[in-house]
Symmetry: C3
Subunit: 282 residues, 3 copies
């Protein structure tokens, strides 16, 4: 059996761009197994591209090759790299911050820089605006199908040299946890924070415990309420809020059968801070 290739872009699926990428990969090796991560990343949104990789990459077999193309600097001097994660998968991407979350949460073992001029689809040298097809997918297919080794795909560079955007680590005090709202569970409108399950374990929290939750946009209080910690949404009544452990084992905040984000107009990013207060020590 041939290798596994997974693609993520901000190209959408309305035109033929992603399909041309598939064609290029199958020309490299017709037996490849190719899967979409998502193509609905908001154009140029490197933050979300980085998060969606974190959400999925570690569930895949070792040696799976991820190709992520959210590339506002296509054709500029930004590097093209291939990273080997400590969990054993590869990611090929422009070096523009896309690797931030996996570097922080999973770890990068080795990174190589790909030479875009020599390592590209034959006959594609007149086009400089579709590296997703001509560079990233082409090389992803070669690596996944073992037509080229990781070692021969590029020149070793330091993992410390990888571009990243800043992440604010969550903090825990005796009765207060502070974190940020990283991203939404888009379809259902729940908030996903950067606060790990372990913080609640430190407090010996039980299902049914109640906490005060404050949400600030910069210094402005946007939400304040008592919220139950539940095993799942079903622990609270319809349209009531619930703190829960999300599928990445971080703390989430949602409404049972409703959208927390649209109900309370909450957005995401480092401007959005969440504070969880333990009122009564038991």
């Amino acid at each position: 059996m041939s290798g596994k290739l997974v693609i993520q872009t901000d190209f959408g699926l309305q035109d033929g761009a992603v399909n041309a990428m598939y064609g290029v990969a199958y020309q490299v090796d017709a037996a490849l197994s190719i899967t979409d991560l998502t193509h609905e990343i908001t154009p140029f949104d490197i933050h979300d591209a980085s998060y969606r990789l974190l959400q999925s990459v570690s569930y895949w077999p070792k040696e799976t090759v991820f190709v992520s193309v959210v590339d506002p600097g296509v054709g500029s001097k930004r590097r093209s790299v291939v990273a080997l994660l400590t969990s054993g998968q590869y990611i090929i991407t422009p070096d523009n911050g896309t690797l931030t979350y996996v570097k922080n949460a999973i770890g990068i073992k080795e990174v190589r820089e790909i030479n875009e001029e020599t390592q590209r689809l034959a006959g594609s040298s007149d086009s400089h605006t579709f590296h997703g097809r001509d560079v990233y997918m082409y090389n992803g297919a070669r690596l996944a199908s073992k037509k080229i080794t990781f070692e021969n795909l590029g020149t070793l560079v330091s993992p410390e040299s990888i571009s990243t955007f800043p992440l604010n680590p969550p903090t825990q005090k005796e009765t207060l946890i502070e974190g940020t709202i990283d991203i939404l569970d888009i379809r259902f409108g729940s908030l996903w924070t950067n606060i790990p399950l372990d913080f609640l374990k430190n407090w010996n929290v039980q299902y049914g415990d109640i906490f005060q939750v404050d949400i600030y946009e910069k210094e402005v209080l946007r939400y304040q309420q008592q919220v139950t910690f539940g095993r799942s949404f079903a622990q609270v009544k319809p349209h009531e809020p619930v703190l829960y452990i999300n599928s990445l084992l971080n703390i989430g905040l949602g409404l049972n059968l409703g959208s927390f984000a649209s109900t309370y107009h909450i957005e995401t990013g480092t401007d959005w801070k969440i504070i969880i207060k333990k009122e009564n020590l038991s």
Copy 2:
């Protein structure tokens, strides 16, 4: 060759959730063949999830495993089940009404209840909000790849115990047929009724015959017009209405090159009744 797995959810494709499900399945068996049914079910819309299964399941080879995850009660005590249809395919789903249409129109041969605590992805026991990944896809992959048998996947329960929502059967009198508008052909705006082709055959209907069509929302008349029964949309002029046999061999009502539903503000569900009157017996 390994087995076939088909997935349906209300998760959308904007984030990494569905892709993590794929990764889990390939960890079970890298040779699986996985296809999306749709991930665009409106969140929590069990009716449409049930209908979309009916629309596609019987076109697939026997032993294909469908995984359907529209699960407003995730983490509650609702059962997780695997059903073997009389047509030979399997469906793994929360037992929340999703099986209604296939039970009614195809038939269920056997149902087993899956133990969510013992039959789940290793290491997933801290997460109770993504059974799509940790329970349904994991078990779907095991069944499709024959790593586990249907018999060993769960405990036999009675098909009669399966949760269903009510369906109003269509009725036929000498000159009048009455049915409901089950669902839209979304992209084209045609109405799909629950009235089978056989009812028209009983009347010896010919292409070109004209019928009076009334549509009621509860007791309020919302549409009344003479409509031609056509072989296809092309039988009538652009923007004229046509009664036709849809791809499930039920009666549809559409506008040639237009959207019936948006033109006449027609919706779906048991509140929406359609009456077809045969004016002149030939």
Copy 3:
């Protein structure tokens, strides 16, 4: 290994229609490799269906079978055909203009007409509104899996008899190039013209050269500005316009990190003319 099948429709992915097509194909040959081109073609938009095939088909291995179903005339007397391109891929489609761009830019070697009554899914003869499933996909799967040969799939007809819509060829004078805006790079809002790279090569254009660009809707001037010819978007400052070579090696016009089409309200089609003027011969 079995063959490759690629599908394009205007059905969307919200219901079970496309999935039923997959099931039919796998019933023909469970080992087929099937990929979506796009299902988001605007309903009945034959122009865009034709363009999206051009955008992707030549990147695929020879003998790949494309099935394109944008079929406003389903059930009418329009022909169903299978075309063998000079580049070696097949396209199965209603003969309604869908082959226009590939005929013009790639070339058609041979065309055969498929008999819809005899060459269709067994048991589907009561349905006349889903030829995508019952005729096109079924025959695409048979051809891709070599269960039937191209020769036996239909009767030879003349490539000249194929339905096409008119295309206005671009023109080049000593200091002026004129073309049309064929389509958008939808997600990013860039304009794709029908003017080939060769026209700029004839002028010995260098990256950084500046041209006057006029855009007319019929006789009305809708845009006029000096625009830099860049290697890629990154050649100009954010939100500045850039002429560039797109991924099909035609001239594109975009805004770096912005949407040209929505910023300047530019649309596509033969009413939209673009004129590029070379001001100073160097």
